[in-house]
């Protein structure tokens, strides 16, 4: 967070030109949307009186009702309040995003560090492996793996992480190659510190900030990909709320019950958009 703050500090310096300020304004907006999204997911039970419906309890007397004061987003085919469902769907999306990023970082970062530090054939093997994974269209590979694993939230996250780790491997490898011959690493090596300790203690901490930033920004794309998988029926299973699944179900009542697809879809769109806008601003400020 301090790192982002530092970037933001430079972005919001008082002497920037109006054009830059406008861009920064967008970064602020995206930050607010992200906070709303994360807050909504964390405090979902407190933000609705219909937490039970959000978690999946049917309410057969209020099926497919249009938006009203009582149900701001309307209700679904089981009578559940869509506002509550969207809030709880945020929990699914956030869980999935965090899982994807955690697994991808967990696999990608050590491989990248090892490849960059040892070089030679180890590097060659690992990097060619990333090439092969990147040779697949990303969503297709995720669909394939999710089908092989069977539909569930964890499996969807694993499937997406499978297509994702090579990016972290490449990122970290580049960093490590740059760090490998720095004096403090040389010094550690000369006094006989174990290679793995050098990587863990001296090198990885120095590569952490770009990884953390990248991982945060990747949450948006992870959510979008997760929504696509669950739209195809490869994500979390009912009755747990999930945005992609809601759009998929709502499609059957479209366009008469337009609200059913509109609000969950909007949630996917806005949360992904916010992360991507933030990512663009950070990239802009860096480059």
């Amino acid at each position: 967070m301090t790192l982002l703050a530092r970037w933001f500090g430079s972005r919001f310096a008082p002497d920037t030109l109006p054009g830059r300020l406008r861009r920064d304004w967008l970064a602020w907006v995206s930050g607010v949307i992200i906070l709303l999204f994360v807050g909504g997911a964390l405090f979902a039970p407190l933000l609705t009186t219909r937490a039970g419906e959000g978690e999946g309890e049917p309410n057969p007397v209020e099926k497919l009702e249009a938006p009203s004061a009582e149900h701001p987003f309307g209700t679904d085919q089981l009578g559940r309040d869509l506002y509550a469902r969207v809030l709880f769907g945020g929990r699914t999306a956030l869980t999935l995003g965090l899982l994807v990023v955690a697994v991808a970082v967990g696999v990608g970062v050590p491989l990248g560090a090892v490849a960059g530090y040892f070089g030679g054939w180890v590097d060659e093997v690992i990097m060619r492996l990333t090439d092969v994974f990147l040779a697949f269209p990303p969503l297709l590979l995720a669909i394939f793996i999710a089908s092989a694993l069977g539909a569930s939230l964890i499996n969807a996250a694993l499937a997406i992480a499978f297509t994702w780790w090579p990016w972290y491997t490449r990122l970290v490898r580049a960093q490590v190659v740059a760090l490998r011959d720095r004096p403090f690493v040389e010094a550690a090596r000369v006094i006989g510190v174990n290679d793995l300790v050098i990587i863990g203690r001296h090198i990885l901490p120095n590569t952490l900030s770009p990884v953390v930033v990248q991982a945060t920004l990747d949450l948006g794309s992870a959510i979008l990909t997760g929504a696509a998988l669950s739209f195809l029926g490869l994500g979390v299973q009912p009755p747990t709320a999930d945005w992609g699944q809601m759009v998929s179900n709502g499609r059957l009542y479209f366009p008469d019950r337009w609200w059913y697809v509109t609000f969950p879809g909007l949630a996917i769109f806005l949360s992904t958009l916010a992360f991507n806008l933030l990512g663009d601003s950070v990239q802009d400020a860096n480059g």
């Binding site: 861009r23 669909i143 089908s147 092989a148 739209f231 479209f254």
Partner: protein, 338 residues
Amino acid sequence: MTLYILRRLALAGLVLFSVSALTFLISRVVPSDPAALFAGQRPTAEQIALARERLGLDQPLVVQYARFMGDILSGDLGISYKTKHAIASDLATFLPATLELVLVSIALALLIGIPAGVLAGAQRGGWFDQATRVLSIAGVSIPAFWLALILQLVFFGAWHLLPLSSRTSNEAAIMYPIQAITGFHLVDAALTGNWTGWVDAALHIVLPAFTLATYPISLTLRMTRAAMVEVLGEKYIVAARAQGLPERDVLFRYALKNAIVPALNVLGLSFAFSLTGSFLVEVIFSWPGLGKYVTDSILNADFPVIVSVTLIVTVFYVLINLAVDLIQARLDPRVVLR
């Protein structure tokens, strides 16, 4: 140049081999019971036993892989449990519809993304740059399946401008049937001079193609813009201006030819996104293509189809990337040196 092409071809061959091996491994090693997966939805014990035998699961992996590759290379992709057809023949039916859709969307991406990217880069920081920046980030953030529904709601539901779904209208299909030659409706209708059919097919492809193109348009636009900003800072651009060449020539001839080489990098990626995006979009537009075939297969747990489609589409993707690299080498003579 020849050396470069040979090296690039060898690399593609290696990637294709690895892709097939990885696909094979994932299909046999990842599932807890591959035979059950290959046997289709709710298989009987008999069907599982049959699948196990067919897959040769008791054999060492190397032998299994050899059989897997042998079957594929002889054109046998297995049997779909849903349609009971050979998957290869199913693909032959569904692929043209998808390819037509994908090619139209890629054409849209190039025709809109490149000029818009040039203008945005030329007026860096101007209103057009700002607007396209937000629009293109929105374009890569919007779920295609949702955008498809919204577009249907607007262009069919509210304005009645475009048809809701499918490749042709029923009337046109009966009165002006398009004779199948290439499988591409637009091409076939044009070849046979069936212009009523052509217009009908064109109207039907607008919404799905545009939905699929959203991501590639945005990607192409941003890449072209970034490349233009870089190229416009180069000395040869100052030199071209100093030579008194008109700004149009400087931007669209001198700068674009340099900028398009990095911008083309995303062409392969765009293609991948359009193809896999079609999995989501075709369902909504009832487009009788590969995507609909795949989504039906997911619903019916038709695993052999998913394996085959993964392999075939990835091979396509690798070949497209190879083609893009060769085009780049043709456009920028320096690529070969790198």
